[in-house]
């Protein structure tokens, strides 16, 4: 009697359980497609090529198959340069696919699938949040050498952006950070709004990597190179490395990863916002 009851319960219990869990289960399956960083697939193709499909969009082909996004959409990019860069990433894989080294592919997938279902306003708000806690605005009071270093390295960038966008940002020794005026936020909101969705995806990626709007715009506006921006973003760490020595599997590892991600993001912004220039050049030749 008890056993049948238990069976019955487990039967219905499972049914309820499944039905309740179903939406989450589905989401998990979608998520598992995105969690490809942990699993490594074999390289299942020989040749990588690109082709121009409908509407002038470029596609990437692995042997005869068309590349798709994790969400199941056809993988299309707006210009040839981006398609070639993505194809090169796929071609660079040896025996196994290492998705954590394919930053441009990842960014394209994010822009195409938009897995978090955000619109431009939400992205701009998320990016502007970094202005309140911008890396270059927070200064230390000791040790003296680091204070000097931050002043010498960060102040020029801060002055540059204040002149370039005609805003006030300022720096602070306080844990609360500097008081950012609303006018500054409005200026940046307007500026970020001028980017298209793809560029904004890349720009937000750079901002979240460098933890700084100032440095990110420095890279995008070609005031800083990627290496310089990464150095400025990791200034305190670099100071500690100079004092205590560098540990290859932590410091260098982090630095190269940050550089690769920042460069990918900057290039992504460049390639997805400058397509008109490229077209014009082709016509004039």
């Amino acid at each position: 009697m008890f056993r049948t009851l238990a069976k019955l319960h487990s039967h219905f219990g499972n049914a309820f359980y499944l039905r309740k869990v179903c939406p989450i289960y589905r989401r998990c399956r979608f998520a598992s497609k995105y969690s490809t960083t942990t699993t490594e697939r074999k390289r299942f193709y020989q040749d990588v090529s690109i082709s121009q499909g409908e509407g002038g969009m470029f596609e990437v082909n692995l042997d005869q198959r068309k590349l798709k996004t994790p969400g199941g959409k056809l993988f299309t990019v707006p210009n040839e340069a981006m398609a070639i860069a993505v194809a090169t990433e796929w071609d660079a894989q040896r025996d196994t696919l290492k998705f954590y080294t394919m930053h441009l592919t990842t960014l394209c997938n994010t822009a195409l699938d938009n897995p978090t279902q955000r619109n431009k306003d939400q992205m701009i708000n998320a990016a502007l949040k970094f202005l309140e806690t911008d890396t270059v605005c927070y200064r230390v009071e000791e040790p003296l050498a680091l204070v000097e270093l931050q002043k010498n390295e960060w102040d020029p960038v801060l002055h540059w952006i204040e002149n370039r966008y005609d805003v006030t940002i300022g720096s602070s020794y306080n844990i609360l950070g500097p008081e950012i005026p609303d006018a500054t936020k409005d200026t940046f909101r307007q500026h970020l709004n001028s980017y298209n969705f793809w560029s904004l995806t890349g720009l937000e990626y750079v901002i979240t990597q460098l933890k700084s709007i100032v440095l990110s715009l420095g890279v995008i506006d070609r005031h800083l190179s990627v290496q310089e921006a990464v150095l400025l973003s990791r200034l305190e760490e670099e100071y500690q490395i100079r004092r205590w020595g560098s540990v290859e599997w932590a410091h260098d590892y982090d630095m190269y990863e940050l550089r690769a991600r920042t460069a990918a993001g900057a290039l992504f912004v460049h390639l997805s916002s400058e397509s008109s220039t490229v077209k014009r050049k082709l016509l004039q030749d």
Binding site: A81, A87, T101, H223, L224, E248, A260
Partner: protein, 110 residues
């Protein structure tokens, strides 16, 4: 802002990275042709191309940085990470220590 390296050295750097990716037949890959094409096109010295040229210069430097950093990162990753758990000997070796090979090491006498 420090000046970027010359376009020629950036171009060479990118080709070197492409060679590391594709091996000896790197001249046949898509990226080789495109990169060479772009570097040739942007060589124009007319004032009209000025902005585009700076743009291309900066973008190519970013691309070089992307290729180099990805390669270096992957080398470090395969060297130190992503191989699962290390054995005690390896862990000790990482910080410059050795495990006692024979009984009679520290704490054995008791």
């Amino acid at each position: 802002m420090a000046a970027l390296p010359s376009p020629l050295s950036i171009c060479r750097g990118i080709l070197k990275e492409l060679r590391a990716i594709h091996g000896a037949s790197y001249r046949r890959c898509l990226a080789y042709n495109y990169v060479m094409d772009q570097f040739r096109k942007n060589k124009v010295t007319g004032a009209r191309y000025c902005r585009a040229q700076q743009d291309a210069h900066h973008a190519s430097y970013s691309y070089l940085c992307l290729l180099q950093s990805t390669r270096n990162h992957q080398v470090l990753h395969s060297l130190y990470h992503g191989k699962g758990e290390r054995c005690p000997e390896e862990v000790a070796g990482l910080v410059g220590l050795r495990l006692p090979t024979q009984p009679g090491g520290k704490g054995w006498e008791k």
